[in-house]
Amino acid sequence: MAVDPHEVDDQADLYDLGLTSHASVDVMLALEDAFDIEFPDEVLKKSTFAYLRDGTCGRSLMAST
């Protein structure tokens, strides 16, 4: 993503900012490493990785920990 991460609004759609499907794999793997979790298959969908906070990703992480 060609944007400064510090300027990304936590409600912004990351796909609108340039997140690709392949980059979402990196996001998933990095989050798994950072929080020592594993994303279950049922949350591996586009919306899971779309938002930084208060989106599906946040809820998925909460459910996985």
Binding site: S21, H22, D41
Partner: protein, 145 residues
């Protein structure tokens, strides 16, 4: 003005495509190594991609997985990447689904598919064409549209 039919001989046809930057796959391999491979690709796919042009082959297979997801036309459905597998029949790439995605394809009436892969130095791409049967899948899709 004409309305272009989405059916051929009574069969609905779906198409999905995707393009992946080779550099992105290379970066993921460098950052996550085998974890990246095992999360996204089946053991058979990893084995098929050994040798020359390994990264390009992996990128083409990732593009195929994304193309298949698009062919489902349900943007927020779960997409366990390993349930979408690219196999080979000689020089021809074939598509194999398993698990929940295989069930979803059956629900949508998927009858047959054709897959094409390609790559250049910088990108890999895939196109999948799916032929669907009868009205059962169509009814379900229409209901969810």
């Amino acid at each position: 003005m004409i309305t272009v039919p989405g059916e051929v001989d009574g069969h609905r046809v779906r198409v999905g495509c995707d393009v992946v930057a080779i550099e992105d796959v290379q970066d993921s391999l460098a950052a996550f190594g085998d974890r990246y491979l095992r999360k996204v690709f089946t053991a058979s796919e990893i084995n098929d991609c050994r040798g020359s042009n390994r990264v390009h082959r992996l990128a083409a297979r990732f593009a195929a997985k994304e193309a298949v997801i698009k062919a489902f036309a349900q943007p927020d459905m779960p997409f366990p990447w390993r349930e979408i597998e690219v196999t080979r029949d000689g020089p021809l790439p074939l598509l194999r689904l398993s698990g929940a995605l295989a069930e979803r394809a059956q629900d949508q009436g998927w009858l047959n598919s054709s897959l094409s892969l390609s790559h250049a130095d910088c990108h890999a791409m895939a196109v999948v064409l799916v032929v669907c049967g009868g009205s059962a899948g169509g009814t379900r899709d229409d209901a969810q549209a």
